[in-house]
């Protein structure tokens, strides 16, 4: 119990927050690598997922790919990339991008697929182009699921970004590894609590975003029913 109190005292001590090794800098690094990894992964994953959801082709490939990626131990990918690319920030960033892709792909295709087929057919009958159908019907209707994909990806990445500190001096994981090396339980636990808090806060924020997006989907569906 006293270890917990010591760790809390360390977190609440203003002097832990300042400086180039302080909590503030570490939280910023952790967030930066998380956001960068998710956005970089979204560049190929979201358009590809939308395409798969819209055409209903290639779903099997994506499910198999997601399964295979889940089987890759992230620590292995990270250490392998670090041996190949050196100890900079690129190795963990690339590993995190690879980790984020399956959830984003799944969110995008599942979201687009979740649009009511009757609404899609109605849009097509009204003369909308395929591009318009995606933009004005399928994406708004599937927004909640799409954001859910971002939420799942962000959660995995923010958690795994902790491991980045194993090969490169980045993020909150550093406290865990320094603590492990010097048997400093206070530092280890303090770092653990900070990472867990950051993950929980991000998850809650994205849950709210997901709720809003689902609301948007419902309103879009209601509008189309009124218009019909």
């Amino acid at each position: 119990m006293s270890t917990f109190l010591d760790a809390l005292a360390w977190i609440l001590d203003p002097s832990s927050w300042g400086g180039s090794q302080g909590i503030a800098v570490r939280v910023a690094q952790h967030l930066a690598i998380t956001v960068a990894a998710v956005l970089l992964a979204a560049v190929p994953a979201v358009p590809l997922g939308v395409l798969i959801g819209h055409t209903r082709r290639g779903r099997g490939v994506v499910v198999a790919l997601a399964g295979a990626v889940r089987a890759v131990p992230t620590l292995g990918l990270l250490t392998l990339l670090a041996l190949l690319l050196g100890v900079g920030v690129w190795a963990p960033l690339l590993a995190l991008v690879a980790l984020a892709v399956p959830s984003l792909l799944a969110g995008a295709y599942a979201g687009v697929e979740s649009a009511d087929p009757e609404a899609v057919d109605a849009a097509r009958a009204m003369g909308m182009s395929e591009r318009q159908i995606v933009r004005h019907v399928e994406l708004p209707l599937g927004a909640g699921v799409l954001v859910g994909g971002f939420r799942a990806a962000t959660l995995q990445v923010v958690a795994t970004a902790t491991l980045a500190a194993y090969t490169s001096d980045t993020g909150l994981g550093r406290y865990l590894f320094s603590g492990l090396k010097s048997r400093d339980y206070t530092l280890m636990l303090g770092g653990a609590i900070l990472v867990a808090l950051l993950a929980l806060v991000l998850d809650r924020l994205l849950a709210v975003a997901q709720g809003r997006a689902t609301g948007l989907a419902r309103r879009t569906a209601a509008d189309s029913r009124l218009g019909a």
Binding site: T3, R70, G76, T167, G173, A192, A196, A199
Partner: protein
């Protein structure tokens, strides 16, 4: 490859340890998630709290969990039990949603018919609800099997030996082939267990058509 030839016995030993850490965690996760999924299905008032708790537990990153669990249970940091408990928490959190969906998927008319033919509460659970929930449940069990096997490697960071030891040892000594073999064998183990779960699912549901695969549900990470 020469590395593998010289260290084959060690790799086999680590793979065995890996399995001994992963299997109890997977089994415990299935039991706990089925129990909690059952509660969430039966009691609408508890459904939201149970699923919300699962999503909070799932949000806690793995490495911090490995440090917090031994402190809470007062067991040594390097104890294999630490890893099994942490992986069970994860596996359960990830599977509860699917387990709830699995019980939801059981046809109400079939349950009514079972009640009408004299099945009591426990017979209804063991002979109707549980078997009929297997097809949906199996999809979630496959996911936690693969993710648990891959997560066991994290234990190497705190000194719990498994195939993850090849990753940390290979990285520290700069032996790329050691790390690559660690990744490869872990993946092979995960996919082999996954195939085993698929076979188990088929054996448990002989009434399901073999050829036509059931439409894969959305990944459980998304159903939270």
């Amino acid at each position: 490859m020469t590395w593998l030839q010289n260290n084959a016995a060690w790799v086999v030993e680590l793979a065995w340890r890996h399995l001994l850490l992963a299997l109890p965690a997977i089994a415990a996760s299935v039991v706990l998630a089925v129990a909690l999924g059952r509660v969430a299905h039966r009691r609408p008032r508890l459904r939201q709290p149970v699923l919300a708790l699962a999503s909070v537990v799932y949000a806690v990153p793995a490495l911090p969990l490995l440090i917090v669990v031994p402190l809470v249970l007062s067991i040594p940091l390097r104890s294999p039990l630490t890893l099994v408990v942490a992986l069970t928490l994860y596996g359960t959190a990830l599977l509860v949603g699917t387990a709830t969906d699995a019980f939801d998927s059981v046809d109400g008319q079939v349950r009514d018919a079972a009640t009408a033919t004299g099945h009591g509460r426990s017979a209804l659970f063991w002979r109707v609800d549980l078997p009929l929930s297997v097809p949906v449940l199996i999809s979630g069990v496959r996911v936690i099997t693969v993710s648990t096997v891959s997560l066991v490697t994290i234990g190497a960071l705190v000194g719990i030996s498994s195939l993850g030891t090849l990753l940390t040892d290979g990285f520290q000594r700069g032996i790329t082939s050691e790390v690559a073999i660690g990744v490869g064998v872990t993946m092979a183990l995960a996919l082999a267990l996954d195939a085993l779960v698929v076979v188990l699912g088929r054996v448990l549901t002989p009434w399901q058509p073999r050829r036509r695969s059931v439409r894969a549900p959305a990944p459980p990470e998304l159903v939270r």
